[in-house]
């Protein structure tokens, strides 16, 4: 039961994330139920919830029972430590600093600018990105290598920032039948401790969960706007989606991504519907020259 709760708390995502194995079936049902319960049309509330219509996971941030900001960070911290146990940081301090600069600038345009944001590039050839509660965001080296300029990195990071600010993972937990158990455990916690460790577990399998597709579409919409607000060309993320949709068909590094996420084509089409001509006048920077390229 403990690990089932944990899986609901954190999952990956940009484009992505891995499919569930047999283990996931049970949880998948729980999440499905939870999401179905939360896909009622939403009435208006403040940004960014205003853009969560059309079957989005809903619920005000303030409605997250029993999870304080400190607890959210503690959960994210544990999850991030577990992920790093599977895939350490790329040993390139300049790279890590660079993604923190870009990521923090993006996050500064969000509703949670003062969260202790952390960004990193991890050693994996897979093409993926991960977000955990509390502002922990990681991109794989495989994905980073695909990027061609800073606006594309900004778009990728902004998608993950979108998940964090919308508390997509925490909301699923809140809405699930597991919320009571989670609340009790979390209520006793402050900072990293044994209970959170028990909650998350040692495995980083918690990152192998996918979110509801509408949460992914929402994070895509948020990503383009955060990038635009930050002064970037807002079409960085769509360009990355184009790359993945185009190039990855036979690439095992993304096969599970395709299994658990909306196809990049569908994400582009959804964005197209949402964007229309809204961003036509926003040029923005791409910053090819400044983009940090991994040496090896």
């Amino acid at each position: 039961m403990v690990s089932r709760i944990a899986t609901a708390l954190v999952s990956s995502s940009l484009l992505f994330c891995f499919g569930g194995a047999a283990y996931a079936i049970d949880l998948g049902q729980e999440l499905k139920k939870a999401i179905e319960q939360t896909t009622q049309p939403q009435t208006k509330s403040g940004p960014p919830q205003t853009n969560t219509g059309g079957g989005m996971i809903t619920g005000g941030v303030g409605a997250l029972l029993g999870i304080s900001p400190e607890e959210e960070v503690a959960i994210g911290r544990q999850a991030a430590g577990n992920l790093l146990g599977a895939a350490p940081l790329v040993k390139d301090a300049a790279l890590q600093k660079y993604v923190n600069n870009v990521g923090r600038w993006i996050a500064s345009q969000s509703e949670r600018p003062d969260l202790a944001w952390h960004f990193g590039v991890i050693e994996s050839n897979d093409i993926n990105a991960f977000a955990a509660p509390g502002g922990y965001v990681f991109v794989t080296k495989g994905l980073y290598r695909m990027l061609q300029n800073e606006s594309e990195l900004a778009g990728v990071l902004a998608h993950e920032v979108g998940h964090v600010i919308m508390k997509h993972h925490l909301k699923i937990l809140q809405q699930s039948q597991l919320v009571d158990i989670g609340g009790k455990l979390l209520a006793k916690t402050a900072g990293e401790n044994e209970q959170i460790k028990n909650l998350i577990g040692n495995g980083a399998e918690i990152f192998s969960r996918s979110l509801d597709k509408n949460a992914e579409y929402e994070a895509d919409r948020i990503a383009m706007i955060l990038a635009a607000r930050a002064g970037y060309d807002p079409f960085g993320l769509p360009t990355v989606l184009q790359d993945i949709g185009h190039a990855a068909k036979d690439d095992s590094r993304v096969s599970l991504l395709f299994k658990t996420h909306p196809h990049p084509d569908d994400r582009l089409a959804q964005l197209g519907e949402a964007v229309g001509d809204r961003l036509d006048r926003l040029k923005g920077q791409t910053l090819e020259k400044r983009f940090y390229r991994i040496k090896q």
């Binding site: 940004p47 923190n100 600069n101 060309d233 807002p234 590094r253």
Partner: protein, 170 residues
């Protein structure tokens, strides 16, 4: 647009960071959309693409692709086009970015075992790494430093409203 210009532009755009050259890459319309003479909403409509139409993508500028197609040569919104062949077609050629690996592909979108990298098994077996986490946290950038970083790249913050979900009431 004459041939010399259409060849020269993508390269120049790439070098000058003004756009992304995609010289001659195949694309497919994801939905019906207008073909414009210039990359602007108000530009003259010179034709229309229907879903599944093949195009040749010459370059990207902002949210637009410059394309050649049997329906005409012009500009179409990039979110209306996918790069590559139609989704259900046979495998694409090696990607523009050299993504196609030397490994035997699984061919289709199916559950796969033995995935290299962060497989389910590897994630499950992962052990919490406090030292690595501390290292990751040591690279944090303050809000103020992020602002300086942005200024150095001539990135100016601006107000932009969030997008509504398609079909959602405004």
């Amino acid at each position: 647009m004459n041939m010399a210009r259409s060849l020269a532009l993508p390269l120049a755009a790439f070098l000058l960071a003004g756009g992304t050259a995609l010289a001659g890459e195949a694309g497919t319309a994801l939905k019906a959309d207008d073909l414009k003479a210039e990359p602007f909403r108000d530009a003259k409509t010179i034709g229309s693409l229907t879903s599944g139409d093949s195009v040749e993508i010459l370059k990207r500028q902002g949210g637009w692709f410059q394309v050649k197609s049997v329906k005409g040569d012009g500009w179409v919104r990039m979110l209306s086009v996918r790069r590559g062949e139609a989704r259900k077609g046979s495998g694409d050629a090696a990607g523009l970015l050299g993504l196609a690996s030397g490994r035997a592909g699984t061919g289709r979108v199916v559950a796969t075992t033995g995935i290299r990298g962060l497989s389910e098994e590897e994630l499950k077996a992962a052990k919490y790494d406090e030292a690595e986490l501390k290292k990751a946290e040591s690279f944090a950038t303050s809000r103020g430093d992020a602002q300086k970083f942005a200024a150095a790249g001539k990135l100016a913050a601006r107000k932009v409203e969030y997008l509504s979900a398609p079909g959602a009431a405004k």
